[in-house]
């Protein structure tokens, strides 16, 4: 009989490295620099993030672990997408997605801290605006870690801002009124990841008198600008190590040169940014599924019932097989979407939307099955699976709910603006 010991670390198709080692045919071979980055991120996740994840999960909802960010900054995770010639690591959406999967396989909260900061930077990076780049990118190249954030969601206008047909009737959207060489911002942003700790934010607001998608404009706002107040931190069921914060803007004056993509260019930029964000959040969901699966996989190889390890019981074997298939399929979808985002401008909305829709769902399914395989242990904090279960529900909300993603998919299928 095969012993449980021999099965502790078998190759799994849930690991791209194992896929290569097993000489399995793959449509997707990662570029060497991304493979190297993945290995670095995996080591960082195992040696820096894993020892701190339980403490961070149990900490008060408004505490922030700068030490993890500092270590990640030393590795270059806060400057991943800044071009090499400017001092960054020069990777695209594919590299970011692969890194975030590795981090999320240990701690989705940590993945989101870095992911949200990179998302905030996209406005400055993709604008090609030398003024904005000279002002806002060097901060990420210094010795001290600096975070950015992306502010879209509002109190009564979350998904409405992501749906072109809804945006003209979105309620109480943040406004920007022109006053000389400045814009004056007023409004409230909610659940802004990194909002409590970020240096600056990409803030979406509607030009006064121009409701809807055509008036949406992206402003780069230093968060120490007079009139900006960092409000309460949301007390969330998961993703507890990253802080979702309310940001209040009261007569905040922003120079006109801090607009990325021009007046009214916010919607077009947002759709490009969403394609990148949805690819990388799909990767986070794959990481969450993988993290939960790896615990269940190990447990099913060690736990003996009826004289056999769990994995040799057909019902559990079926569960494990289904879980690996879901993870592998979701990974291929996000890799494809990220590849498209790196090789097409603007990228199609369909790929990232489908990738995120699927990955978010399978993360919940795989995490729940993993908890089921561990039985009572899965329900306890000591085994980490319950954390993955809580976090699996998070990605289904941010960067597009299933309902919003479904609209993006069907709009693409029927040729509407999405």
């Amino acid at each position: 009989m095969t012993t449980a010991f021999e099965l502790k670390n078998p190759a799994t198709l849930s690991d791209l490295g194992a896929l290569s080692a097993a000489a399995m045919p793959s449509f997707f071979q990662l570029p060497p620099d991304v493979e190297q980055l993945r290995d670095e991120a995996r080591e960082f996740a195992e040696t820096v993030v894993k020892p701190r994840r339980l403490a961070n999960d149990l900490a008060p909802h408004d505490e922030f672990d700068w030490e993890i960010v500092r270590k990640g900054h030393e590795l270059g995770l806060l400057r991943l997408t800044i071009p090499k010639e400017l001092g960054g690591r020069g990777v695209g959406t594919l590299g970011v997605a692969v890194v975030l999967e590795e981090l999320a396989a240990v701690c989705a909260s940590t993945a989101l801290i870095f992911g949200a900061s990179l998302l905030g930077q996209t406005s400055v990076l993709t604008s090609g605006d030398p003024h904005l780049q000279a002002r806002f990118l060097p901060q990420f190249l210094g010795d001290e870690p600096v975070l950015a954030c992306n502010a879209i969601t509002e109190e009564v206008a979350g998904c409405d801002l992501l749906i072109p047909d809804n945006s003209p009737v979105a309620q109480e959207v943040m406004t920007a009124r022109r006053d000389g060489d400045e814009y004056v911002l007023n409004g409230i942003k909610r659940f802004i990841t990194n909002g409590k700790v970020a240096e600056w934010a990409t803030v979406f607001a509607n030009l006064e008198g121009h409701p809807g998608a055509d008036g949406l404009t992206a402003f780069i706002v230093p968060l120490d600008t007079p009139g900006v107040t960092r409000g309460p931190v949301a007390d969330k069921m998961g993703y507890r190590a990253c802080l979702g914060t309310t940001l209040l803007f009261e007569d905040v004056r922003v120079p006109v040169e801090n607009i990325a993509f021009g007046e009214g260019g916010g919607w077009g930029f947002l759709t490009m940014q969403s394609n990148q964000a949805r690819s990388t959040v799909a990767a986070i969901s794959v990481g969450v599924a993988r993290g939960a699966f790896e615990i269940a996989h190990r447990y099913a190889g060690e736990r003996v019932q009826g004289g056999l390890p769990l994995y040799q019981h057909q019902f559990t074997a079926r569960k494990l097989a289904e879980m690996t298939a879901k993870i592998d399929a979701a990974r291929l979808l996000y890799l494809q979407a990220a590849y498209q985002a790196d090789n097409m401008l603007p990228a199609p909305t369909y790929g990232p939307a489908v990738a995120k829709l699927f990955a978010d769902r399978i993360a919940i399914e795989v995490a729940e099955e993993s908890m089921s395989i561990l039985g009572a242990r899965g329900y306890c904090r000591d085994y980490d699976v319950e954390k993955f279960v809580r976090e699996s529900f998070g990605a289904r909300i941010y960067e597009g709910t299933p309902e919003v993603l479904a609209l993006a998919v069907t709009n693409a299928l029927y040729g509407h603006r999405a």
Binding site: P83, E85, G90, G92, T126, S127, G128, F261, G262, G265, G268, F269, T271, M272, D342, N343, M344, L345, P346
Partner: protein, 121 residues
Amino acid sequence: MTANATLLQQTLTALLDDAELTAILKERGLSLLFVQRDPETVALLSGDGVTFDEFPQDGATLRFELSGDTLHKLLTGQLSLPRAAAARLLTVKGPVTRLRQLGDVLPRVGAAYAAVARQAA
């Protein structure tokens, strides 16, 4: 105003004399394929010079698909590449991070375009 096919051809042909530009393209391993719609004109700008219509279209580093109006605005500095992309006025296919390498290329093309347009007028 739009960048009509003749103007585009004359502009790119004029760039053949810009040895510095072709050296830059060669050094960076860049080749740029412009597909201008209505009527369709295809031109490849690379370190080896400029060719029109008759060449394999899948070998270019970056492929730009755009209208004559958008091309005119890009070459005259009225529109930037990122804003044109965000507004879905053009499509770029290829490794988009390499668009940064065009920072000093497109102004040269724009200058040649302006000179050709002045002569035509």
